[in-house]
């Protein structure tokens, strides 16, 4: 009896809370179909849905449709995800499985970089990329992902790799596998769930990494979705309906990816173990 009751109260509580979290989003869907005058009315849903908000928003820029901006962003994301997943796995294998001189020292440094405010390096990085002629290209946005994808992901994978029984390595060694062979044949396949987590986080976070995009991308034809949306905001007379419609579309990829992989997402983190 009591368990049934507590189950029900759990559901009620969680449902209410989910609604609280989602309410602005529900409002958002309705608002994206409203005329500007209608936005200040309390109804969630407009009298006559303005589907043209979507089409006019899509063609808002005189030169490019949003398809172009989505294409830009997705291409960049593809590189980011590949870079992060590959190099984070390599580096984590090095730290998690191999013995080498000063390993502890380098690992401490890795952990310390997690605590470094990005502002400290942003100016010199900009100067560096500027000197190399990479400003207004995707290289400054993509390249960091090929350097291990960040301390956070490396740490996550190291924890994961430490959880893989070493007997498997030993068995492979007896079969004559080198450290490289063990990585390719044993470790890499086994850490796939955690790699999915790395891929999702990379995708979602770099999609939203507005700071770097504003900093490095200046020509409209290279604009990401986020930068294209900012063009709406910078207008004198903001077309709210169109802006909200396009904003809504801009979060669709992240939502799809999350729904598609959320099982991996939570479990992938949870199974890494919290013991250092």
């Amino acid at each position: 009896m009591t368990t049934w009751r507590s189950k029900l109260s759990d559901h009620v509580l969680l449902t209410l809370f989910s609604l609280l979290m989602l309410y602005p989003v529900i409002w958002w869907v309705g608002a994206s179909l409203k005329k500007t005058e209608e936005l200040s009315l309390p109804s969630l849903w407009p009298k006559t849905p303005m589907w043209e908000n979507y089409s006019s928003g899509w063609h808002f820029s005189s030169e490019y449709t949003f398809a172009h901006f989505f294409g830009n962003t997705l291409l960049m994301e593809l590189w980011n995800v590949v870079g992060s997943v590959l190099t984070a796995a390599l580096v984590a294998y090095g730290f998690g499985r191999l013995n080498f001189k000063f390993r502890g020292f380098w690992f401490s440094i890795l952990m310390l970089t997690m605590m470094l405010p990005g502002q400290v390096t942003i100016v010199p990085q900009y100067i560096l990329f500027n000197k190399l002629g990479f400003v207004d290209s995707y290289i400054p946005l993509i390249l960091p992902h090929f350097f291990g994808g960040g301390a956070f992901f490396i740490f996550l994978l190291v924890q994961f790799i430490r959880g893989i029984p070493r007997d498997l390595d030993e068995a492979a060694k007896i079969d004559g596998a080198s450290v490289y062979g063990i990585f390719v044949r044993i470790v890499f396949p086994l850490i796939k769930p955690a790699l999915v987590t790395v891929a999702i986080f990379t995708f979602i976070w770099s999609w939203d990494d507005f700071f770097a995009q504003v900093l490095y991308i200046s020509s409209v034809d290279k604009f990401t979705v986020g930068l294209a949306l900012r063009m709406f905001i910078d207008q004198f007379d903001i077309q709210w309906g169109q802006l909200l419609a396009m904003s809504l579309l801009s979060v669709v990829p992240s939502v799809i990816i999350f729904l598609f992989a959320q099982k991996h997402f939570v479990e992938g983190i949870a199974t890494t173990g919290l013991k250092g």
Binding site: T15, F100, W106, Y126, A270
Partner: protein, 320 residues
């Protein structure tokens, strides 16, 4: 994404290296080959820039001509002759002070609620994670500007209760509050870390506590909280560092206004560097931030001895 405080890891890593003699020199090279992507990136994009920014902070530099050495004048100007610095630091401190505890509190609460095996958990999880999914995008900024505007949704709700709302974002007394609220609403990542931590707590601890007749509250206070303390610590440290760097919301929603009420430090630094091209001054600002965050982190590490409980440490206790 994982709740081990860096402290124990670092200590352990150092211990490991001193204890273990490396067996085969063959893996030295292999080890360095495997970590080379990170090592190269660290030298190029972290170590060299840190040194560079330290040097630049003693110069005047506009990107166009060579840096001119000006000694400590940037720092003197910051501390004695820059009202905007004081203002933006104050704004950022208030932001950190409110948003970090709020976020920790909510994400822990929700993680505990979500750490159950009930049906439909995936749906709840997605719903609750959704706000964090849309992150710091323009989309959220558009949403917030609209919701908290004079005739936005919040005021419509208040109107039902006969309260005449204000323009929350355009009022300097409440504008920062809306940004803190937004930051709190997006507690997903923090929550996921807590969730991962909760899944790690051995069930037998709860079972034996039940045998001793402990109730829900006592279990939470005596098992969950101490076992979660490393995760809490991790979230606290990253939360403080993250909040000190808050930028996007202020940049897009309020542009730092009205009357600098949301002019956060990162925005100040960004404008000094990339609007006025005062790279030297911006570098000095970055170093001031680094020192502040470093001191706070050090204090936290020191204080953690009294409240963070590590299973592995022999002398570990719950502290005070």
């Amino acid at each position: 994404m994982n709740g081990v405080a860096a402290q124990s890891n670092v200590a352990q890593a150092v211990k490991e290296t001193t204890r273990k003699r490396v067996r085969r020199s063959g893996t030295h090279l292999a080890g360095y080959i495997f970590i080379s992507p990170w090592l190269i990136g660290f030298i190029l994009l972290t170590l060299w820039p840190i040194a560079q920014s330290f040097y630049l902070s003693f110069t005047e530099y506009s990107l166009l001509e060579q840096p001119v050495w000006t000694g400590v004048s940037n720092y003197t100007a910051i501390f004695t002759n820059d009202a905007t610095f004081t203002k933006s630091l104050a704004v950022t401190f208030i932001f950190v002070l409110f948003s970090v505890p709020l976020k920790l509190f909510f994400s822990l609460l929700v993680a505990v609620a979500l750490n159950k095996n009930i049906r439909g958990m995936n749906l709840y999880r997605t719903a609750i994670y959704f706000p964090s999914l849309i992150g710091g995008s323009i989309a959220v900024a558009a949403l917030w500007r609209n919701m908290f505007g004079v005739d936005g949704y919040i005021n419509q709700v208040l109107a039902w209760f006969g309260i005449h709302g204000i323009g929350w974002i355009s009022n300097p007394h409440t504008s920062l509050g809306t940004l803190i609220l937004l930051n709190t609403w997006q507690f997903g990542s923090t929550m996921v870390i807590f969730l991962a931590g909760l899944k790690q707590i051995p069930q037998e601890l709860y079972e034996s506590a039940s045998v001793d007749g402990a109730g829900k509250v006592r279990k939470f206070m005596n098992i969950t909280l101490p076992m979660l303390s490393p995760v809490m610590f991790f979230n606290l440290i990253l939360g403080i560092i993250g909040s000190f760097q808050t930028f996007t919301a202020a940049f897009i929603i309020t542009k730092g206004g009205p009357i600098n009420s949301t002019y956060v430090y990162a925005l100040f630094l960004y404008e000094k560097a990339f609007k006025h091209y005062q790279m030297g001054y911006a570098s000095a600002l970055a170093w001031v931030l680094l020192v502040i965050v470093g001191v706070l982190t050090a204090i936290n590490f020191f204080a953690s001895r009294y409240w963070v409980f590590y299973e592995s440490s022999a002398e570990g206790g719950k502290g005070k």
